[in-house]
């Protein structure tokens, strides 16, 4: 009896959580879309706010982290940009666009630290 209850409970839990996750993703997407619109108008602070919200709502949404990384780069906060790119790549390791962004970022980051400083 008990053994039959556990799978049933798990099934019901899945039924409840899947729509919740879908809702979170859809909300995060809206924030990301709005962030893109404002970033294209040069309002990077507002874009950061939107993408941070998106990453909070759905922490597993790679585009939110990728876009945040770009915005941090634009603001000159290279440490935060690196963390955000690495999180985006952790979530979507095969995404060629995130990889390309990250490589370009690393080129700049390395350039600033390349020469031996004593």
């Amino acid at each position: 009896m008990r053994t039959a209850v556990i799978p049933l409970a798990l099934f019901l839990l899945t039924l409840v959580t899947v729509p919740l996750q879908a809702d979170a993703r859809s909300d995060a997407k809206k924030q990301v879309e709005f962030g893109i619109t404002v970033a294209q108008r040069g309002l990077w602070r507002e874009a950061i706010y939107r993408w941070e919200r998106a990453a909070q709502i759905d922490p597993s949404y790679a585009p939110a982290h990728n876009n945040l990384a770009i915005a941090y780069e634009h603001e000159g906060d290279l440490a935060k940009a690196r963390t955000a790119y690495e999180r985006a790549l952790e979530l979507e390791p095969g995404n060629a666009l995130i990889k390309q962004n990250y490589e370009l970022f690393r080129e700049i980051n390395d350039r600033t630290t390349r020469q031996g400083t004593q």
């Binding site: 634009h74 000159g76 666009l97 700049i108 031996g116």
Partner: protein, 250 residues
């Protein structure tokens, strides 16, 4: 030689395919790079001179001083002091003599020859005196070694070949080649004109090689190498903006 374009092309294809499958937007960005050195306390900069050596075809002290002054004039907020270039080699030699060593310092042909002169940068009293003379600016000095290079190495180049049907093909051929060029190595040293103390020092090193049959004047090689170093030098003193594009994802 061919591997790099092929790699670049294949990564472009991957990116284009990925772009086609995702909602993505290219956006221009400008990444501000903060200066490595806080120069807020200074209004003026004195590029004092350099201990230079290597080839005699280029006066490393004079050319480096002139070039850095002109770059700072257009690309930094600091006011550049125009003054005679300090003959630091002589200053360092005098310092050695007064210390009791009567022998003339060796000519600077290699990097290790610089050691006999480097003590001048630690002479706080000397730099403080220079600072007082020019109203306590930020002082830029250092070492410059511009030396000829010769390397024999295997180089890949493209060669035309024709098969038995007379069809032309271009194939990569690896050949052993003699190459000549120059290396530019040294150190930029930033000194506080108020205290004479070193604030920051940064080493550099660049090389350029040409085919042995190509004649390139030493001075133009020197400027080519300095062109590569200037952005790093300027990023020590003033903030820079690096333009680029990134892909936003939806």
């Amino acid at each position: 030689m061919i591997a790099r374009p092929v790699k670049a092309l294949s990564s472009l294809v991957v990116v284009l395919l990925a772009t086609a499958c995702t909602n993505s937007f290219e956006i221009p960005i400008e990444t501000p790079i903060l200066p490595k050195l806080d120069v807020a306390a200074f209004q003026r900069v004195l590029v004092a001179g350099f201990i230079a050596g290597g080839t005699e075809d280029v006066d490393g002290n004079l050319e480096t001083t002139r070039l850095l002054r002109s770059q700072l004039r257009t690309k930094s907020q600091l006011r550049v002091i125009d003054s005679d270039v300090l003959p630091l080699v002589d200053v360092a030699a005098e310092g050695r003599d007064s210390g009791g060593a009567a022998t003339a310092p060796p000519p600077i042909k290699e990097e290790k020859d610089l050691e006999a002169y480097e003590h001048v940068f630690a002479n706080v009293e000397y730099w403080k005196k220079i600072g007082e003379e020019y109203q306590q600016p930020l002082i830029v000095t250092g070492t410059v070694m511009f030396t000829p290079l010769q390397r024999n190495s295997i180089v890949q180049r493209e060669q035309e070949v024709y098969d038995s049907f007379g069809r032309r093909r271009v194939v990569p051929v690896r050949t052993y080649m003699e190459r000549k060029g120059f290396s530019l190595d040294g150190r930029f040293i930033f000194i506080d004109g108020r205290s004479g103390a070193t604030l920051h020092s940064e080493s550099f090193g660049e090389q350029i090689l040409y085919n042995a049959n190509q004649t390139t004047p030493a001075l133009s090689s020197y400027f080519e190498l300095m062109d590569r170093l200037i952005p790093t030098f300027l990023s020590t003193l003033s903030s820079q903006k690096i333009k680029g594009t990134r892909i936003l994802l939806q």
